[in-house]
Amino acid sequence: MNEVTHRHEDRGAALILAVAFVVMIGTIGAGLAALVTSSVNNRGALEKVRDRQYAADGAIEDAIVQVRLAATSGSDTCASNSGVSRTPSINSSDIRVDWRSACGVVRSAEGLVLVQRDVIFSACLDTNVACTDASIIIRAQVNFEQAASGAVTKTYVQSWSMNQ
């Protein structure tokens, strides 16, 4: 009688174990699926960041050329010290570049006082508002070497920082 009772108690045990096994396998499978999904999403996000960074990089290059042209043509001096440059979509990103002059003076070896024309460029996504510290993607400071005529003979990138 006891033996029969035991057998009755064991009935269904294997099925319960199998169900537990299925649940365990399902959990592992769900974990793997989450891992793969997360990896793919991260990959896409990182590619977007890369494209945006190089879009900002290209927009600053455009802005440097514009400032160079303005300085060369004499329509811009250290005194007129800010501007905005917008670059059409690069890598599916519209970028705005705000720039301002940061001119200073240095004394040459001959004792001459020379004006250093530096310009700070800030690139951010174009949302029709000025770039803020939080939105800046790249900030760059560029020195414009000018001849006595005002023509820019060369540009020197003094700093180029990627903020996000």
Binding site: V4, L15, A18, A59, T72, I90
Partner: protein
Amino acid sequence: MAQQQDRGDTLIEIVLTVVITAISVGALIAALATAGTAGAAQRNSVSTDTIMRNYAEATKAAARLCTGGAEFSVPFEATGFEVATSPEHVVCPPPTATQQLDLSVTGPTGVTQTMTIKIRTP
């Protein structure tokens, strides 16, 4: 009589258990295989991205040596990857303009990434 009934139930249970276990293990193996494939694709994508960044930086570095109108070439090689620039033959842009370049990198599995950059003559 009761014992014979128990025996029958146990057999069905065992068959069911074996079937369920087999399906579960099959699903697990399939999931692992998919995760492995996805991992390989992810690794390839990351490698291609790294090569793309390196290629873009090499292109910009080459542009920093530019003088307006001179021939422009980028010395860049990456084993197992193919890199290309469009337009193919570029001269250094004049100081008054930027040059837009479309870069593409094709990885060992044939996956291609593209990106646009701009270069200028310093």
